[in-house]
């Protein structure tokens, strides 16, 4: 059995991990052996071994397969300390099912298909890793709801360890959501409601991921995008091209994240479709990438390739035709009623979506505690003025409705560009 170990140190560790005092809720049923092992972290590792493969699954961060916990469980099983049980644990069943559906026992790979096979294997490993991570996330989320959100009151960073674990589990999107939730308990009145909403969204994402294979492909792609699966540029460029004259609506630099990012919002003159071009640059100067050079108020003829998903806006720029040209303000700015119904439709397509581009006609209303944005019908929503100079918007509008492009979300409208006549003014 110890021949399964990848090296001798694993065996030594496995003997230590096999110490029965560290194990509980162990069981064996048919081909499956499972158990919880107290590790160095707060929550125990979930370990499952499928002896038919053999295949292993452990929620520890180790990259070794099998890890010391899996080997330790096998040692315990061999030593007869693992009781036979009729009903396997839920997590063991869940893992076995995803394995069976996604990784049918493969015949030896024919020569020549090695790369594809290897890629498929890597993809499978990743999705296994993510699935494992999300099972842990689910346990953690339920613990929070059982034990009470108030335990995190006033703290900063309570979800960071879980976020780190999600990074290990190759679910960086989930990790990012968790890191943002880490700040919520210190965010003032009403934080439990905001925290629970975030937990609910994560739970929804984990549930969706668990049944990824049964989702329609666009929705599955949306789920994968939010979990943080990477899609290579080559894969995106293989998607059908959308040729149009793309008006540059707005540019926003996000410099507070781990890697500074530049978001550029475009809209097709003919298709009317929104597109988001994202550029990451660790240095934050965005100098070397042509995709970071879009100037609001110009239009460029180009072929865009959208990332798969529902309510998808993110796109890669394929072939460009000619230089950017000056363009006037965007056509058909919406009023708030139109924007709100568009937003509702978008959330229905993608419940995890953070924000959505908007071209509105309205006037800013300065306020001490809160700025608002009013449309010509007299309705208003909060105006999000963090990180911009809202007074430029006030000066350009001068109390009368102006055409403004920005980002829309449940929190309100974040203005990024205002048109002063034909001139696009970046806020």
């Amino acid at each position: 059995m110890l021949a399964l170990a990848s090296d001798n140190s694993s065996i030594t560790s496995a003997r230590a991990a096999g110490n029965p005092h560290r194990w509980y809720d162990t069981g064996a049923s048919g081909e499956l052996i499972w158990g919880l092992c107290a590790g160095s972290g707060a929550s125990p590792y979930q370990v499952v071994v499928d002896v038919s493969g053999p295949a292993y699954r452990c929620s520890c961060p180790s990259r070794k397969v099998p890890c010391k916990h899996a080997l330790g469980l096998l040692l315990g099983w061999a030593a007869g300390t693992v009781p036979d049980t009729a009903e396997p644990a839920d997590y063991a069943v869940e893992w076995k099912r995803t394995r069976d559906t996604r990784a049918p026992a493969r015949p030896r790979r024919p020569p020549g298909e090695r790369d594809e096979e290897a890629a498929a294997k890597r993809a499978q490993q990743r999705s296994d890793r993510v699935a494992t991570g999300l099972v842990e996330l689910e346990i953690w989320l339920r613990d929070q709801v059982r034990g009470g959100l108030s335990a995190a009151a006033g703290s900063y960073g309570h979800a960071d360890p879980v976020a780190a674990r999600m990074v290990d589990a190759q679910a960086p999107g989930v990790a990012g959501l968790l890191r943002r939730l880490s700040t919520v308990p210190a965010s003032g009145d009403g934080w439990p409601a905001r925290l629970l909403a975030g937990y609910g969204r994560l739970h929804l994402l984990a549930r969706a991921h668990a049944q990824l294979d049964r989702l329609p492909s666009a929705l599955a792609a949306t789920v994968r995008a939010h979990v943080g699966y990477t899609v290579t540029r080559a894969e995106v460029l293989a998607e059908p091209a959308v040729a149009d004259d793309w008006l540059v609506l707005a540019v926003r630099d996000l410099t507070d994240g781990a890697i500074p990012a530049r978001r550029t919002w475009l809209r097709g003159a003919t298709t009317g479709r929104y597109a988001l071009v994202l550029v990451f640059d660790p240095q934050g100067d965005f100098g070397g990438n042509e995709d970071a050079w879009f100037v609001p108020g110009t239009a460029v003829r180009a072929e865009l390739h959208y990332y798969p998903g529902r309510a998808a806006t993110r796109a890669a720029v394929g072939t460009r035709h000619g230089e950017p040209v000056a363009a006037g303000p965007p056509d058909g700015p919406l009023d708030l009623a139109g924007q709100l119904s568009e937003w509702a439709a978008v959330v229905e397509l993608d419940p995890w979506i953070g924000d959505w581009p908007a071209v509105l006609r309205g006037v800013p209303i300065p306020g001490v505690d809160e700025w608002r944005f009013a449309d010509p019908q007299g309705g208003s929503v909060p105006l999000l003025v963090g990180g911009i100079d809202p007074w430029v918007l006030v000066a350009v509008a001068a109390g009368a409705p102006a055409v403004v492009a920005g980002e829309f979300s449940t929190d309100g409208f974040r203005p990024l560009t205002v048109w002063h006549g034909d001139e696009a003014v970046r806020l």
């Binding site: 209303i365 309705g379 007074w391 000066a395």
Partner: protein, 513 residues
């Protein structure tokens, strides 16, 4: 019916302590209640997700609000986009306030107004930098003045141009700058009534306010102000006394001037020895109480000047300059060139310099600048550039071109050039360019100082010769000399900047056509 609030309440405490059974859900989430998990914690998370999505999709509503009052329409033409870009460049990248003031003023004179997107930045800059305030205020237009009403610190900028409100409330309840503006404006119209207004509340003003308000009497100063100023010489606050003394000294024929004349009369006299004439000094007494009342200070504020020498400076400075031409019987140029006995040349010249500034006397200024007597020790108390400003323009031009002929650049050269206001006539431009060319040929060029910078800012725009090309060529030639004369290496960058500024000014003014 389980609401989102029920879920939050239970989850905050923890459903282990406060179990909750999720039943029906409100709103659109209700249709999906069948997907709820059996596990109570899972069910809470499911329900939270459903209700949250419903809230996100439909929770934000357009709340009715009173729309703001639109700004008044602007009749003036807005500056072009490229002119706005030049202004932004000058204000931020170059941070050249003097050039900015020049461009802002020119734009306002051309009947333009600031581009709307630039208004907040202009107001913000001018709110924190008084040197920009008037020129920014002139360029605001209706829209800018409307925008300024949104923030008190911006409103002060907009008010920099407006006439002070003719409103007694400002005087009774306003803050000091507003009251000072109101008093100054009132002095322009009716000096006596304005002074009476000040006198009526004088004893109730605080010491600091008295100092500031008294300064407003310089506007429209006349003999009728003397009794009040004379009384202010006995004020409790020293700064009030000193300011009153300065005002009285500026009032010809005042009793204070007469007393100062008496104190100075015996201090200087002319002595002839054969053909040579010189000025002999009798050191004045230590100031008595009456002299202190007239603003003379007891101890020297300068560590390098002793108390007796300091008294000499004060007594000479306080006396009217006519005393010397009358009693010594010579014109200012002759007096300034005379040798002064006892090594007191610097003190006497410093006193004369201060008196010339007070009396704004161009002839004395020219005389004092034209002599080598007095030297740097006199200039230490009142530098040349403060005197140059008293000269008539033609004299300033002559002085600058004279000094520029000396290829060794001195601080005095720069001061003389600076004293000539922009725009420069071609003669001055040529003299400066010739001076720079002489520096280039010099074995040891001096430091460029501010000369290239002032040149770029001051060349007359109707002077259409290709000065930028000349300046860039000079820069190249200085660069080529750097190995031979290291100081030459300090010239290219400021020369090129001057060329850029000149180009930029020309572009800006073309935009105003």
């Amino acid at each position: 019916m389980t609401t989102y609030e029920d879920l939050v309440t239970a989850a905050t405490v923890g459903i282990a302590q406060r179990p909750i059974t999720v039943t029906e859900l409100a709103g659109p989430a209700g249709a999906h209640a069948d997907v709820l998990e059996a596990d109570p914690a899972g069910a809470v998370l499911d329900a939270a997700a459903l209700l949250d999505v419903a809230r996100r999709a439909g929770g934000l509503a357009a709340v009715p609000i009173d729309r703001p009052v639109p700004g008044p329409p602007d009749t003036a033409t807005e500056l072009s986009r490229s002119a706005g870009a030049i202004l932004r460049d000058v204000l931020y990248r170059r941070a050249d306030r003097e050039l900015a003031v020049q461009l802002l003023t020119a734009a306002a004179d051309a009947g333009r107004r600031a581009p709307a997107p630039l208004l907040p930045e202009l107001l913000e800059l001018a709110a924190h930098d008084g040197s920009l305030r008037v020129s920014v205020a002139a360029l605001l237009g209706e829209r800018g003045r409307w925008l300024a009403t949104h923030r008190p610190e911006w409103l002060r900028v907009a008010d920099a141009q407006a006439r002070p409100a003719d409103d007694v409330d400002v005087w009774d309840t306003g803050r000091l700058p507003e009251r000072l503006g109101r008093l100054t404006e009132f002095r322009e119209r009716d000096p006596d009534a304005a002074r009476d207004l000040l006198v009526s509340g004088w004893i109730r003003e605080t010491g600091d306010d008295r100092v500031q308000l008294l300064g407003a009497l310089l506007t429209g100063l006349g003999p009728a102000d003397e009794p009040f100023l004379e009384a202010a010489l006995d004020d409790r606050k020293a700064d009030v006394r000193h300011r009153a003394a300065r005002l009285l000294a500026a009032l010809p024929g005042s009793a204070l001037t007469a007393r100062a004349t008496d104190r100075a009369r015996t201090v200087l006299r002319l002595e002839r020895r054969g053909l040579r004439r010189r000025i002999v000094v009798t050191l004045p007494d230590v100031p008595d109480d009456a002299a202190r009342r007239d603003g003379l200070r007891g101890a020297s504020p300068y560590p390098t000047i002793g108390d007796r020498a300091w008294h000499l400076v004060q007594v000479v400075a306080a006396a009217p300059l006519s005393l010397w031409t009358d009693t010594l019987g010579a014109d200012p140029a002759t007096l300034a060139d005379l040798e002064i006995d006892g090594g007191f040349g610097a003190e006497v010249h410093a006193g004369w310099r201060l008196a010339a500034r007070r009396e704004r006397d161009g002839a004395w200024a020219q005389a004092l600048l034209g002599t080598r007597h007095g030297g740097y020790r006199a200039a230490f108390m009142l530098p040349d550039e403060q005197l140059v400003g008293l000269l008539p323009l033609e004299a300033r031009l002559a002085r600058a071109t004279d000094l520029l002929r000396d290829p060794r650049g001195t601080p005095a050269t720069a001061a003389a050039v600076l004293a000539y206001p922009a725009p420069w006539p071609p003669r001055l431009t040529d003299a400066v360019l010739a001076h720079i060319a002489a520096q280039l040929r010099s074995a040891e060029p001096s430091l460029p100082g501010t000369l290239p910078e002032v040149l770029g800012r001051s060349v007359e725009l109707t002077d259409s010769r290709d000065h930028p090309a000349t300046l860039r060529e000079l820069a190249d030639r200085f660069r080529a000399r750097t190995a031979a004369a290291p100081m030459a290496g300090r010239w290219p960058a400021p020369l090129e900047r001057a060329a850029d500024v000149l180009d930029l000014r020309r572009r800006f003014f073309r935009e105003l056509q």
